[in-house]
Symmetry: C2
Subunit: 110 residues, 2 copies
């Protein structure tokens, strides 16, 4: 190989950042609040906050503040973020076809 495509490398770097895939999966369902995502995903507030900030900076996630009581902050996918749906779908397909029940069990042991 001459060398990797820099755009692919960049995309791969983003997607292989821990928790990013699950966050995208969650947001593909629709707009979510911080606490909702925290409840959905096995990720701590500290990292969820970091990842959302990073995804916002990358233009993948949009953040909207509603000054109600208590404050409501909603996260959703931008067009760029929604364009990742086929990636997530293919991962789901692969998981359905190739990840066995035993493998899932094993990874829970550790």
């Amino acid at each position: 190989m001459e060398n990797l495509c820099p755009r692919f490398e960049k995309a791969m770097g983003l997607l292989s950042t821990r928790w990013v895939g699950l966050i995208l999966f969650d947001l593909l369902e629709g707009t979510k609040r911080f606490s909702e995502m925290e409840a959905d995903l096995p990720i701590s507030g500290r990292l969820l906050s970091d990842r959302l900030k990073m995804l916002e900076k990358e233009g993948i996630v949009e953040r909207n503040i509603y000054s109600e009581f208590p404050v409501r902050i909603e996260y959703s996918l931008s067009e760029k973020g929604k364009a990742l749906e086929p990636v997530i779908k293919e991962i789901q397909n692969w998981a359905t076809d190739h990840v066995t029940h035993e493998e899932v069990e094993k990874s829970h042991e550790s």
Copy 2:
């Protein structure tokens, strides 16, 4: 969300392990030797070794030893590994459409 699909979570855990995406991309080109992959990818021998061992255990990569001089060890994708091609292709598509030149530059600065 009730809770995430465990198979998807497992698949996502695998694919979001650092360097795994690039390793798969490299091996989709065909069989490779350790030193070849080390040259292709921006990853050290220590982690390449770890990741290949892990991917072999997951049944995604196959390892073949040829007792020549010097010893030749070849890595290739199993059927399960090759089945990840659509995932990689979709990431490429997204990268082509949505990762800008500027973003690539920025990530090289840091």
